[in-house]
């Protein structure tokens, strides 16, 4: 532990620590990846990694990355859902890792649904 010798340094440590424990706060923005047997077989893990990478790269805060089991749309796996506060949940399907950054950027960050990849709106 480096020495904290003034307020500025304490504040810096705080910001860093908050980011590192953010997963424990219910994020207001949620990315949900299907990781049932079929999801994993279809490459869900890669989607998850891509999502995490993109979130880290953009330094997004207040986003939780969750996983879910099979939701019965196995033919469309890998699946990823995006939830923005106060907006309906949107399910994307047949994803490739390269699709992820665009969905994160357009939808999660800017609120524009990437229609061509949407396969459903569960709620």
């Amino acid at each position: 532990m480096p020495k904290i010798s003034n307020l500025e340094e304490l504040k810096k440590l705080r910001d860093k620590s908050i980011a590192e424990t953010a997963a424990r706060k219910e994020g207001r923005f949620r990315v949900i990846i299907g990781l049932g047997t079929c999801g994993i077989a279809a490459g869900g893990r890669k989607i998850m990694e891509a999502a995490m990478e993109e979130i880290a790269k953009r330094g997004l805060k207040d986003v939780s990355v969750e996983t879910t089991g099979c939701i019965g749309m196995c033919q469309n796996e890998p699946l990823m859902d995006i939830v923005r506060p106060g907006e309906p949940r949107v399910t994307y399907g047949n994803l490739k890792p390269e699709d992820v950054p665009r969905i994160i950027a357009d939808h999660l960050v800017n609120g524009n649904v990437v229609e061509e990849k949407v396969i459903g709106r569960p709620e």
């Binding site: 904290i4 304490l10 705080r14 620590s17 590192e20 424990r24 969750e66």
Partner: protein, 597 residues
Amino acid sequence: MATFRSHVLVCGGTGCTSGGSDKVLETLREGIKANGLDKEITVVQTGCHGMCEAGPIVIVYPEGTFYTHVKPQDAKEIVAEHLLKGRVVERLLYKEAMHSEAVPHYKELPFYSKQVRLTLRNCGYIDPDSLEEYVARDGYQALAKVLTEKTPEQVVEDIKASGLRGRGGGGFSTGMKWMFCAKSPGPKKYVICNADEGDPGAFMDRSLLEGDPHAILEGMAIGAYAMGADEGYIYCRAEYPLAIKRLLKSITDAEEAGLLGENILGTGFNFTLHVKEGAGAFVCGEETALMNSIEGKRGMPRPRPPFPAIKGLWGKPSNINNVETWANVAQIMFHGPEWYANYGYDKSRGTKVFALTGKVNNTGLVEVPMGTTIREVVFDIGGGIIGGKKFKAVQIGGPSGGCLTEQHLDLPISYESLTAAGAIMGSGGLVVVDEDTCMVDMAKFFLEFTQRESCGKCIPCREGTKKMLDILIRITEGNGREEDIDNLIYLGTQIKTASLCGLGQTAPNPVLTTLRYFRHEYEAHIREKRCPAGACTALITITIDPAKCVGCTKCTKACPVNAISGTVKQPHLIDQDKCIKCGACVEVCPFKAIDKK
């Protein structure tokens, strides 16, 4: 520390550790590694959640899934199902006692949803061994603010305005106490944390020490600044090895980070902190006895005045507060006194942590705003009485406290309301008893405790409690006399007024309140030689109902003294001369044919 998608929190408190949470943690880590998830999921050991009975407890974030009674083999399933495939392991979810419905989320548990966790906010949520995690929860911000923006006088004023009162029993205004010590001439002063937690059946201080040690350090540093002290002691009972370990680690970390020690945060303020291990004497929880003990003497109370604020540890002005009191300080300074004073009722502000134990469905630590009713605590949060039995009383305040009955269920909890009803807030032990508990036996139990722990310095306490105990023993053995009740009241009142310290001054309370509300039970013991609850062994007889007994012989095998005879498939008989009334037969009888009265 790095950023992880998911955090798996494993409780490492005393309760869960005794249930094997260490192994659970290890299994989770191994499983996560074996599945290549160790870059995205981290496992964190936390302090006590206050729900030890459901332990070991595991929580998976970001979902907030709350798993209970987790064994190592279950940990494997959590990895394979939840972490790998995102499927919640239903079987391990918390089941609500009343509806046996599975509750997936932490926040939705009735046990937690009705609580207001200010003091306990970090317990079970952060890794107590990590200074960073405490800082992430605004830790040490209050200290920084105080040191740079406030004068010591302003801090004292803020604490006064918050309405905070001592959580160690007395309920004295913390701000006033600080003011006395601050006004005492320096230069050398001490602040002390009372972590002796002697009240049997209470464990809120343990939980705080184990689950959020930095909050206590920060509170003490703020107090030291306000009162002009540069040295502090935490006096912790030796029965809490884990708490001591965590305290020592947090002190070392805080020193390394420059948050304790010399020139804190570059402001020129110095504060060093030591931990002293108690040596097993209840009376050392009394503040003057505690200081004697730190000085290496017999832990006997000193007469007051002089008060510690004038002449305390090593003759220097000192201020002593309870763990829970200290744990509130940083938050009050961070959010402001108005924020804190917003919670509460009448002259009791803020929240109070209770250790809810005994015959309730959900035992554990419960933090509620002052003014919450006993009913809400026992029935809404506690989930009612085990086995649907009848509520009889709550014992509040431990050996210095008293029993409250059904008629008090809607009493809003505050220092004043409890005292008026004959109990005290005490440290916050709240023991629920049902129809099977004998109130005379309960009073005897507490008096045995205080009698044993009396330090012997003053006569009313040493001899008086002994006399009272003799009478109680006599009553529970069926040798009570008509005048005994009056004598108990007379003795009790005398001891209360004439004793030197709080131990003797409060020792008769359990007897006096049970006499006040359950006098009929004493009378039944004395006049009819009968224990209405069927608890006092000398007064009960165990008999077999021949109409119900089918002669299964289970009781014959269970009896340790061969007092039961009979042939198979024929009603059995208990030889009353041999019977030691242990009740072993009652427990094994599948037909409820054995009666204990």
